[in-house]
């Protein structure tokens, strides 16, 4: 037994006798990725859960200081890898704020559609795998079937199904085509039926409800003080959504509700995620029919954004423009300032704190990962729960190790 536990004042001698330590992870099916918990158990009751993280710390932020604003998008992709494009959008949102670039309406709409597709993408995996861990494999299969459709939509737009690297400073890699629009329309049309099936399999499943209700409760005060955001905070009654409160991209144009709950338990968190999927579909539905025409790259002095590919191949000016946008000494100069900008990623507030030093790369690219702050609340959520609840709580806060450790 560790010393600090022996010295803990809220344990009496009798309790200390029967405690035992259980090591959970780093290689455990329910962690999905790599994280470790040291559990102090009294019988089956969890007295203390001490997370040990860093098993996937790969130096993302150090790479952010080496690569330029366009190159680093390939690295942020790999941060929250169950919704890759949400990271790209967050990163370039922050970069564009630093550089003072205003996006074109078409680019804003396409990014919004992708951001919402990624929200569905993320929530499907979160729910599917948590149900898998709690013993039901069917919902997982349904979730992955829908995810494959979203992968195809990503692949059609960017050429890569997983790590798309689709956004660029001030624009997008390619413009979308009509058949992409048709794919998204089909997805929006088919999704409600799948949602009904999925919802019936998960949220009305008695075993699932029994195992998640009143488990891992997080109060509103703890959520605010601990820095919880996104579905975890909204399930605890903190009605805050950056899409509504600090509108970015094209969210001002759409009509949607912020989903929240008062419960604060695992079931509430899953409920919020389920409801958010429907709201996302609502946003995509409004956006896909109204994509404005026009260029995808922001107009400006020309240096801040990449030129259109057709221009590069067909005109000498376009080619020069392209070379200038990748040459370190001819690139756009970022102001010597710092900026913090956040977007509402599926997991919560994904923010970037960027310090510019007068070149086209970040002097410091800090990520504010929602997973890190949520996982630091884990031991608080676990207090008084049973050993088998660890899996349910871990699934409900949706910890992504690469984002957690960076």
């Amino acid at each position: 037994m560790p010393l600090e536990l022996l010295e803990s004042p809220d344990l009496n001698a009798n309790q200390r006798e029967g405690l035992w330590t259980l090591n959970f992870g780093p290689q455990h099916p329910a962690t999905h990725t790599t994280l470790r918990l040291v559990l102090q158990l009294d019988g089956e009751m969890v007295i203390d859960a001490e997370p040990d993280i860093g098993f996937l710390h790969s130096g993302f932020e150090k790479l952010g200081e080496v690569l330029d604003f366009n190159q680093y998008v390939t690295i942020v992709d790999r941060m929250n890898y169950i919704s890759p494009m949400a990271n790209e959008i967050a990163w370039h949102h922050a970069v564009e704020k630093l550089l003072g670039i205003d996006l074109t309406p078409r680019c804003k709409y396409i990014r919004t559609i992708f951001a919402e597709l990624m929200r569905i993408h993320d929530h499907l995996l979160c729910l599917g795998t948590c149900v898998l861990d709690l013993g039901g494999a069917t919902a997982f299969m349904y979730a992955f079937n829908e995810r494959e459709t979203i992968y195809e939509i990503c692949e059609r737009a960017s050429g890569q199904r997983f790590h798309t690297s689709y956004t660029r400073v001030g624009g997008l890699l390619y413009d979308v085509t009509d058949d992409w629009v048709q794919m998204v329309r089909d997805f929006v049309r088919n999704f409600p039926k799948v949602y009904r099936d999925f919802s019936g399999l998960v949220m009305k499943n008695r075993i699932f409800v029994e195992r998640t209700r009143d488990v891992g409760v997080l109060s509103r005060e703890e959520a605010i003080a601990g820095g919880a955001t996104g579905p975890v905070a909204r399930a605890s009654g903190v009605v805050r959504d950056l899409r509504r409160d600090e509108p970015y991209l094209a969210y001002e144009d759409f009509d949607f509700d912020v989903c929240a709950s008062q419960g604060g338990d695992c079931y509430a968190r899953f409920q919020v995620r389920m409801m958010e999927m429907l709201e996302s579909i609502k946003i995509i539905e409004q956006a896909i029919e109204n994509i404005p025409a026009g260029p995808i790259f922001a107009a400006g002095t020309g240096k801040e954004s990449m030129p259109d590919k057709r221009e590069v191949y067909r005109s000498i000016e376009g080619l020069i423009h392209h070379f200038e946008s990748v040459m370190p000494n001819r690139q756009m100069q970022a102001p010597k300032e710092s900026v913090y900008a956040a977007t509402e990623s599926p997991n919560g507030e994904l923010g970037y704190y960027i310090v510019g030093d007068g070149s086209f790369r970040a002097y410091r690219a800090r990520t504010r990962p929602p997973s890190l702050l949520h996982f630091s609340l884990f031991s608080r959520m676990m207090r008084g729960c049973m050993l088998s609840d660890v899996v349910a709580v871990l699934g409900s806060i949706n910890i992504i190790a690469a984002e957690l450790d960076r």
């Binding site: 990725t33 098993f55 996937l56 790969s58 790479l63 079937n145 199904r161 790590h163 690469a402």
Partner: protein, 200 residues
């Protein structure tokens, strides 16, 4: 004589070496241990899920305990805090065992040429099949598993001959050739008996 047997038995009996039969069994009933650390783990899930059904290729029985597995799929980058864990899990797996290094990060470190990421797991442990891609598509993983099955079919033997040089057996004790003979003798088989046929 041979034609007579053929007439009686038809295609119900075939003769082969025990090695080939054992290898065939091993190759088609791989039990993978998904050592999924990062993005590739999601593609590994995707491979096992509804659209790309891995069970079509006889290796869908994912077991998370290394003691029950014979194929380790290292999916994702391995960093210096994780490498000792990986090595320990590899040592805990019983023989015969194989390893697939899935994705650019596990093969070479990929885009993460940083202080924390191990530049290829093959620097510190044996790897049988490398799958490129960041992350590889599910089809690529399936191709990798088929390649490994071919390799097992060619190389695996009942006495794990390819692993003869091992000096630190961590798994269960090796199957002894002499033990096999003793078991057969106990069961009434005599190796020098001209009527003895290993297939029956």
């Amino acid at each position: 004589m041979a034609t007579q047997i053929n007439k009686q038995l038809g295609d119900n009996v075939f003769l082969t070496t025990l090695d080939a039969a054992a290898s065939w069994g091993r190759a088609n009933s791989l039990w993978p241990m998904p050592f999924a650390t990062a993005c590739c783990g999601i593609e590994l899930m995707s491979t096992a899920a509804s659209k790309h059904d891995l069970s079509r290729f006889g290796s869908e029985v994912m077991r998370f305990s290394p003691r029950q597995c014979d194929l380790m799929i290292v999916a994702g980058r391995v960093v210096m805090k994780m490498l000792p864990v990986l090595q320990r899990i590899w040592l805990q797996m019983p023989e015969p065992k194989w390893c697939i290094s899935m994705g650019a990060c596990a093969c070479s470190g990929g885009v993460f040429d940083t202080y924390a990421v191990v530049q290829g797991i093959d620097r510190f442990m044996p790897v049988d099949v490398y799958i490129p891609g960041c992350p590889p598509r599910p089809e690529q993983l399936i191709r990798g598993i088929i390649d490994l099955q071919e390799k097992i079919q060619k190389g695996g033997t009942i006495n794990a001959r390819e692993f003869k040089l091992r000096i630190l057996p961590e798994g269960p004790p090796r199957f002894d050739e002499d033990e096999l003979i003793r078991i057969r003798e106990r069961n009434g088989f005599k190796l020098d008996d001209p009527t003895y046929d290993p297939v029956h």
